[in-house]
Each structure stands twice: as structure tokens, then as C-alpha cells.
């Protein structure tokens, strides 16, 4: 395995300031956390509800900025980037899968997957279309290319969301409880998909999950407790 760190967190602190009448209440979500994710890694982030897993994932993905400390993606400090630069970076290097599939309801499966490819004009429409249908076929949706999200089952929608996250060939795929909303059979399909992706294409994956069984199938488990790294286990 390649030892190159693709995501690196250095003393990342995240706190939120809320105004309650005249008072300002500061709540610390992540006091100080440091770790890195290597290229080709397949890591599960686990921990009780409210421990800060989602917050951590958003920071890793440049959707949110740390209060202090640094986040590096491909050795570039993303906390220093402007909003526009962050947007481009998210588009090219990151793929997100959320607990809820969050597809655009007006567009069919194919168009949803094409969207990130067309956002930056890196692909022509026909290139984007053939790549999107290839991805969807690989995820077993070749029959559903032209279905709108409301014509797809929850599991199918989540697979479309995964195809969309993979569209721009991201350095890292970040998933936040991607099976949280699915029945166990659909969840199983998604787990298998992630494992396959990591095994066959070396796709770096970080996935937040509550599912012990799924976590045990990954290569590494990062356990979070009260915003702190409780344990970091390699399974192999």
C-alpha cells in the first residue's frame, strides 16, 4: 500500500458560536483532532450519535472550514482556499454521498450523474453521457438511466448518488451513513459496492457508519467520542 497521505488533519478544532439573546454560547464540536487518510485507504468512521462524525466529514470534504488547525487535501491546505476555489476542488477531487440521496428531482438518473461532470466544463456533453451510463451500468442500473428519482427505489437512488459522487474520478469518496435510510438488503448491496470499488479501482473511501458489521469489512476504523479520536484500528 502506498503511504502517501491524501487527506491530513492537523490539530483541527471546530466550534460553533450561537447567539442566545445577548449571550454568546460557544459549543466545541471537535476540540483538537489530527489524523490522515492514505491513498487507497478504506476507512470507517464510527462513534455514538452527536460525537461529531458528520462535522468531521464536512471538514475533510471542504464543505466547512475549521475554527483553527489545517486540513490538507493532496498537500494543499484547503482551509486557506477561497469559496470559489473550494467549489472547484470539491468538484474535481471529492465525491460526496449523503445519508439521504439528495438527487435533483427534475433530472433523470443519467442527468444527475452527468451534473458534476458538466459543472466545470471538463467533459463534453456526449463524453459525460457515456461516462455516466458506464458508471450506472457498473452499479447495476443500466435499465434505469432515464428514470427520475421518484421512479427509483431508495437503494437505487443511493446507487445513483454513488455514481454521481464517482463521476469526476475523485481522489476521495466521502460517505455519511450512506445506508442509514435503507433496508438491510439494499444496505448490503451498497457495502459490497464500496468494498469492490476499493479493491478493484483503489478508490480511497471514507465512510461514516453505525453498522459494526460494515465497519469490520473495511481496512481501518476510526472511532470518535465527544469529538476526539478514541481509537484508530487497522484491520488486516
Amino acid at each position: 500500500m502506498n503511504d502517501e497521505a491524501i487527506i491530513r488533519l492537523e490539530h483541527v478544532r471546530k466550534q460553533l458560536t450561537m447567539k442566545n439573546g445577548g449571550e454568546e454560547i460557544v459549543s466545541v464540536i471537535l476540540p483538537d483532532i489530527s489524523f490522515d487518510i492514505k491513498r487507497g485507504d478504506f476507512a470507517a468512521i464510527t462513534g455514538p450519535s452527536g460525537s461529531g462524525k458528520t462535522s468531521l466529514l464536512y471538514l475533510m470534504g471542504g464543505l466547512d472550514k475549521p475554527t483553527s488547525g489545517s486540513v490538507f487535501l493532496d498537500d494543499q491546505e484547503i482551509s486557506a482556499l477561497s469559496e470559489e476555489e473550494l467549489a472547484s476542488m470539491r468538484n474535481q477531487k471529492l465525491g460526496f454521498v449523503y445519508q439521504f440521496h439528495f438527487l435533483l428531482p427534475e433530472f433523470n438518473a443519467l442527468e444527475n450523474v452527468m451534473m458534476p461532470m458538466l459543472a466545470r466544463g471538463r467533459f463534453s456533453t456526449s463524453e459525460a453521457r457515456s461516462r455516466a451510463s458506464e458508471l450506472l451500468s457498473r452499479l447495476g442500473l443500466s435499465e434505469k438511466l432515464h428514470n427520475k428519482p421518484n421512479q427509483l427505489s431508495g437503494g437505487q437512488q443511493q446507487r445513483v448518488a454513488i455514481a454521481r459522487a464517482l463521476a469526476n474520478n475523485p481522489s476521495v469518496l466521502l460517505a455519511d451513513e450512506p445506508t442509514g435510510n435503507l433496508d438491510s438488503r439494499s444496505a448490503e448491496t451498497i457495502y459490497k459496492l464500496f468494498s469492490e470499488l476499493n479493491r478493484e479501482t483503489g478508490q480511497t473511501i471514507v465512510v461514516v457508519t453505525h453498522d459494526e458489521h460494515f465497519a469490520s469489512e473495511t481496512k481501518r476504523i476510526l472511532n470518535i467520542l465527544d469529538g476526539q479520536l478514541n481509537s484508530d484500528k487497522r484491520l488486516e
Binding site: T54, Y58, G61, L63, D64, E83, E84, A87, S88, M89, R90, N91, Q92, F96, Y98, F100, F102, L103, L104, P105, E106, F107, M115, P116, L118, A119, R120, G121, R164, N168
Partner: protein, 421 residues
Amino acid sequence: MIINRHLVTIAFRQLQNRRRQTFLTLLGISVGVMVLITAVSLMDGLLQSFIQKIVDIAPHVIVSGERVKSPVPDQLIVSGNGNHVVFVKKVNRERQDVIKNYPRMESLIKSDSLVQVVTPLVSMDVIGMFGTISQPVQLFGIVPFTENEIEKFSNSMVSGKFDALGRTPDGIMLGTTVAKDFTARVGDRMRIVSQSGVIYSVRVVGIFKTGINDIDDNSYVNLRLGQIIGGFSPDEASDLYIRVNDLPKDGLVASTIERETNYKAITWEQKAASVVALFKMISGIVYFLVFFVIMVAGFGVANVLITNVLEKSRDIAILKSLGFKRSEITLIYLTQGLIVAIIGAAIGCVLGFLLIEIMSSIPMASSSQSFVSSSHLMMGKNPMYFVWASLFAVVVSLVAAVGPSRNAAKVNPVEILRGER
């Protein structure tokens, strides 16, 4: 920033999802644009037809008996308290309101190559009597042949022949309003009472209708008879009417005459200035009201976008997390405003065109209250109406779209994606 058509596609799809609201907004803009186009066409048409009639059948320059300058003082006494006394030697008592020796004036004016026709007139207020009816009449004495080249009476005869006036020394030609008032017909004899109380018997030889109510109120006799009734000498005239070859030069002709003869010469623009100004003011008010219609349509656009942005905040968050930039999100919603405006304006232009066609084909009863009467409503026809109305709708819609679009760009994806269930 790439203005790519995918943004336009996203904009379109979101609008399609809110069909009813989008349709109502489209309707608002269409109606606004239609009303604006029609109002502009109506006002423009009225003004144009008014000006056209004047240019066709009114004198371009009128020389009147009024002197430009008063006589210079022969003696001036300046007293200590600021009062001046001016003496002017009056050799003969002359009428200050007539043109003396008009034939010489006429030939002088005609020598100007810009002048096409000159014709002398005398005007006076008299009492007309027919049967039991008697009422004041504005009477003119004219030279029928040259007068006709300016006022084109021969095209406006509703009964009788214009030529008959020249052949009938005691003939009178009545405006249609006058003829109606007296219930007089061609061939009837009526009487004219001059200001000095002398009664003249005249014969109606023709009745005309120009459509300009000021003129249809008048009556015309031959110049010589007019001079006799009004107490003018044979070489005196009240006015000279002039038609020029080249209309924009009428001001030049007028000022030359004033300089060379000291008689007051006014152009039709000066004479019609107050009416034109009134037209402009009425149009201004009409446009102002119509602008409000489009403003309201603009609120409709803002409304559609605000609801879209609110309802689509989840999608906006997704687009942002996929790497769409703030500016691109703004553009999606500005594009929605633009789409509604363009489609609305296009429909409005078609409706406006149809409405103009319909309105200009509706027959209209003439009313003596208006400046100009005609059988149909004169609608202005100019492609620029459509261009300006559409442009206005687009600008208003874009302005209305700016606020919601910027709000859309401000959506924070983290907040939305966290909170969404």
C-alpha cells in the same frame, strides 16, 4: 465562470416544476407588455395622425397683420421718478391688424424658392342667418384656387363642388359643423350680417369636412366679398397662408419674412406647440400608469423566484457541494427571471400586435370634442414599440430576480444538508 447551457437547463427544469405559478407570472408579463405596446401605439398614432393632417392641409407658415416691432418713439421724455413718456407721430390712422398691399407682399414671398404657394385671406366674425336660426360664424374670404392648394378643400367636399365657389361671386362654402347647425344644404340662400350691421345674401355652394374640428367650424367666401363684408380695402388681407416645398425649412421662411417685412410670421410647429405638448403630457401619464402594470409583473417574477429558491434550497446545497460556484447559482435564478421575461415579452408582443390590428380596424364615430376626427382609430406602427416594451420587461424582471438569486447563492450547504430529513 462558464455560462454553460447546463445552468439554463437547470433553470428551465425548475420552472417547469412550478407550472402554475410560472404560467401566472408569464401572463402578468405578457399582459404588461401588451398593454404597454398598445398604449404607446395609441398615443403615437394620435399624435402622428394629428401632425400628418396639419402637415397635409394646414399652412406651414401664417403671416399675420401683427407687426413684429412697435413704431420707434418720435419723442421721449424721461421724468425723474422713473416714468417715461413716449410720443409717436401718427400720420394716418391705420388698422394694425391687417397686411397692407398684400399683392406686393405675395409676390415678394413667392420669390423665395422655398415657397410653394402663397394665398391671402381675410377673416372676420359675422352672424349667419338661415330660416329661424341665427348664430355667429367665423367667416373667411379666400382665393379658392390657391387656398385649395394648401387646405385641400376639394378632397373634403361632402356636398357640392369646390370649384363652384370660384365661379359664384356670392357663393359660400360651409364647414360641416356649421351646415349641421343651420341645417343648410347646397343651393340654399342664407344671410350674413356684418359687424357694421349690413346684411348680405349668399348662396351655399358646398359643404366640406376635413376632420379637423377647428376648420369644420369655419365658412368661406371669395376674397373680394370677404373684404367687402369685413370692411377691408381691396389691397388688404388679414393673413397670408404659405406652404413650403421642404417642411423643415418653414422656420427659415418665417424668419426671413419677419426680417424683410416686419409682419409677424409663425410656423405650424409654433401654432400647434401647446397641443403637441398636451399630447406629450397625456402620453406621459399613460406610460406612467402602464409602467406600473409591468412593475406588478416584476413582483410576480420576484415571487416565483423567492418561492423557487426557498423550495429548492436543498438542491442548491447539492449543486454547491457538487462544485457549482456562487456565481453559477446566481446565474441559474437570474436565468429563470430572464426565461420568464423573454417568453412573457414574446407572448406580449404577439398579443400587442393583434390588439393594435383589431383596434385600428374598429370604426369610430367622430366626436367634435377631439382635435381630429377620423373614421378609424389611428394606431402607430413601429417595430421599436416591441423592442422597447420587451427590453423594459426584461430589465424589470432581471432587477426583480437579483434579490432572490443572490439569496440562492448565499445558501450554506452544510446547514441545509445537516438539517434535511
